[in-house]
Point group: C2
Chain length 260, copies 2
DNA sequence: CGGGGGTTTGACGAACGTCAATCGGGGTGG
DNA sequence: CCACCCCGATTGACGTTCGTCAAACCCCCG
């Protein structure tokens, strides 16, 4: 499926404008285009419209707020990782959802003061405001772009349900195992043993509703059992079957199923 | 606001067809109409279209599956309480969301195999399939009905975020307090001391990600402290301020905010 | 060669789950 | 009308999981 192993390391601007191969041609928007294509085929014109967003991209450092609480508005994450979160007055933080490179944010978030969530960068990121992007919505045949974006939102919803189960009904080990498998699938590395997962243990703990210390112990436990390893931002699934067994629950599908 | 104290006890069919007062005129659809009106004003024609659904209503007993996993399709809950849930192979259950009388279900659920959730009745219920209801979507000015339904979905989304915080970052006492306040607001009984909450402790435990035993202890603790009481399906908020303090987090707004 | 943030570990305690038994109330059938 | 019964609520005892505090440790960068 989609290979993002390298995409996350793309941090250079300029160059790679119109050299040759498809990936090179896609330039910095490659991550986004490949991910969208995972949901629905885009027409050449649509892909071009997406590519044209590239000059508007901006960088942000880890920890930066990409979208303040209550704000919305179509963005894409070109590289790096972000999250949707909320911080309580006493400092406790819950991360609702991790945003992987190539994914969008701000599309689903209701702007009318309803959902109090903030989008924040977990690593250094590049992102673009896609407010200007023409989608081609409504009426008879939704465009490929519209279908892809819809698919992205649906998958996000599905993942949130999984996440609620994780938080409410899975043990710490199960939560970690399930989260790792979700990320593996999500990053398109189902066959690969290793994939990038540059999240702080603190961030991961705030995703999974655990303390950093306890998460660390669970990670060591999985490492000692040769199931899974996380070192320097790279995840390694050493024993997929055993890890899946530990996860109890199969992660949400990464692709749209045919309507019934 | 909306008073559902009696609505939940409406179990009789027939009668109350066109006697007099507004509530009586709304008949069995009154709960739904009042709730929709809480989000956006409906035109007389729209209200009539909703009322016309009444004959199609059906009953189900507690525990019945109202919408199987993966299915969707516009429904309203006329009376009784239901929930969206998922049950793991080993029997663990997580309830994603409680559905109060008058609320809709199946509107947001994606039908294409994405979200694996089941809608199940928590008490005896009456509900209708509203697939035939003409909404008046799209284009320039969305109808009152469309806006009301959209508001319902937005509120549901907002509540899910709160729910994720509850599960991931609040203690048992905080979870219960927050849940109770959310329900109070949701049922339109913010001023009232008492309101109907006919959930089994087992159901509430599965909402809050707790064991029944521990939930029971928390409830006793709140009762001993004269903060909150739950007896025979009726909730009594004895000390609103203290309960709100115990909840840490203010529950999601019950009404649509003006767009910014 | 120092910071400094992230990771790792130990010791301890609090929060929560499990097992098991009892209680209570309302619904049902005689 | 009453006895029975069953499901849900309640309680005690105990064990486990997980959080907190505190102290190293490690690695990356400057």
């Amino acid at each position: 499926m989609v290979d993002l192993t390298s995409a996350i390391h793309v941090q250079r601007f300029g160059g790679s404008g119109s050299s040759g191969g498809a990936a090179a041609h896609d330039g910095v928007m490659g991550t986004v285009l490949r991910r969208l294509a995972g949901f629905a085929e885009l027409s050449a014109a649509e892909a071009d419209r997406v590519r044209e967003l590239a000059p508007a991209r901006r960088r942000a450092r880890a920890g930066a707020v990409l979208l303040a609480e209550g704000r919305a508005g179509r963005h894409f994450l070109l590289s790096g990782w972000a999250c949707r979160q909320r911080v309580l007055r006493d400092g406790r933080r819950q991360i609702f959802d991790v945003i992987a490179p190539g994914e969008g944010f701000g599309w689903g978030e209701p702007a009318d003061g309803y959902a109090r969530q903030t989008v924040a960068a977990l690593t250094p990121v590049e992102c673009v405001d896609a407010a200007a992007l023409i989608i081609g919505q409504g009426d008879a045949a939704p465009s490929g772009l519209a279908r892809a974006l819809r698919g992205m939102l649906l998958e996000q919803d599905a993942r949130r349900l999984d996440h609620m189960i994780r938080l409410g009904r899975l043990t710490a080990v199960e939560r970690v195992a399930h989260f790792v498998l979700e990320m593996q699938r999500r990053v398109g590395a189902v066959e690969a043993r290793c994939f990038p997962l540059p999240l702080t243990q603190e961030a991961m703990a705030d995703v999974l509703g655990l303390s950093v210390v306890h998460l660390n112990r669970v990670l060591r436990q999985l490492r000692d059992a040769d199931l899974f390893e996380l070192r320097r931002g790279t995840a390694a699934v050493l024993d997929p079957e055993a890890l899946a067994a530990a996860a109890v629950l199969a992660p949400a599908a990464g692709r749209m199923q045919p309507a019934r």
